[in-house]
Amino acid sequence: MLALDMSTGLATFIAQRLAAALLTLAGAIVFLFIIIQFVPGDLAGILLGPRATPALRAEFAQRMGLDRSVPEQAWLFVSNAVRGDLGNDIISGRAILDMVLDALPNTLQLAAASLLISVTLGILLGCIAAFKPGSLLDTILGVTSVAFITTPAFVVAIFLLLIFSIELHWLPVTGGGDPGDPLDRLAHLVLPAAALSIGWIGYLARLIRASLLEILSEQHVRMMRAYGVSELRIVCHFALRLALVPMVAVMGLGIGDMISNAVFVEIIFARPGIGTLIYSGILNRNYPVVQAGILFTVLTYVSANLFVDMLNALLDPRIARSLKQAA
């Protein structure tokens, strides 16, 4: 089922994509450095915020190499970042890297949960709609999916919060839940994950439906029908497998949106995570934390895109062909 038989081509492909990803990451870090340079005013003062004491300033200047040339500073910035040295938090004194690593799992859990929900439900609904196009179910799904897609995630989050937490008291209002109790954590995950997935479910369902309908009119499907394969197997096995290819490509494009929306959802539900970290950093003028948080979101985004590229190559054997020719 997976196109794993083109070893040299695949290895080259992975290497190429990895190199491109690292390059982009490096570029993003440099970009971060560059935009900081353009901030009006005293750099140390801005970045350290209102808590800048002369001692802190001196230490900061030394770490960032502010007395050296700009290219050297850039190199220092990047190498510090790569080594994981993101500085220490002014308020708590902890290493910022630790703060980020504490918050990251929460965000990843949220993202994973909503991905799981949206992919499962999206594919399911899309298949059902394509199985009986024009039926009542199909029409209902069509209308609601558009509504789901276009409503901004944070609006959905607020509505969910309003209805299920505040009015009905079914689910907890805020927070991430007791770290020791997985069931409690799960309860706290439901609404945020739902808020994040709703847009995606609508989008994927629509996409899968459109892809399936197009595929179902192609000759190879007719061929399968001519050999007596059941319609159910045709839709859910043969056609769906082919429809997954553009779906994965599209999901790659949308991951950035998902990360952005995760920020809002975390803030609205007061969940611990990278989004809340960045936001509270902004509110508290704690810019080193903001910087670190942004770096990690970029890292996540670039890795996710890399993963999607790999998945795409595995799912579509035709990509391997261009690799074989190139290799």
Binding site: A28, I46, V155, I158, I259, I278, T297, Y301
Partner: protein
Amino acid sequence: MESVWAILSNIWRNPSGRIGLVLVTAILLFAVLGPVLSVDPNKIAIPDRFQTPSITHPLGTDNLGRDLFARTAKGSQSALIISLLVVAASLLAGSILGILAGTAGGFVDRGITAIFDIISAYPAVILAMGLVALYGTGFGNLLFVVTILFIPQFGRMARAQTLSLRHQPFIDAERILGLPTRKLILRHFMPNVLGPLIVLASMNIPVVITIEAGLSFLGLGVQPPQASLGSLIKDGYIYLNQSWWPTIGSAVTLALATLGSTLFGEALRDAADPKLKGHGR
């Protein structure tokens, strides 16, 4: 003018396009006429706080007694103005950069493409948040920041169009006849690039509206006393326990605005060139 009418009637015939057109017109009217017809959106009247909808206050009042109808109308106005400005600016900047990259080639091309890639490496809102955090809030900054987010999309499309045009025989013919590059760009590349870009622009309007609303919701966008749909939702969010109305009015308006402009944008794309119906977001 005739083709505009043809496109509009095409959109009208498309059922979802019709809904989009209706919603967009409704929001436009609301945004333009609303502030004119209603009371002062900034008038504070504490005794009247948290009222439910009535004749005097069609959408109720907020926590400071301000009329929500007026504020929501003003918020829609901001949303529309900002989205139009941002889309126009990023279209312009993106097309210039894209055509430049496509025409010059080589180092310039790779440099510009790298810039696009780096900007796209950041999830949209994250980059916006970071930039606003560093450079401060304010209308100008907001416009600048959100414009940057969209430049890569327009830029890439402009570049792709330019590249495909560049290799056409009629361009070679013009070059042989001695047409300077500048005129080449103005006379041939720009008009051909603008078409698809305008369609892309119309599809991006709801995205800009959403991002601006999101930023304002976080307090990083439009600042008080200016109202944006996002900041109205934020104001209401804090007081959800006491009254739904401050949140509902602006949230529903935001949802309708994005829904309407999405449907309209898609119908416009289908009317202008059905081939563009791909798998893009």
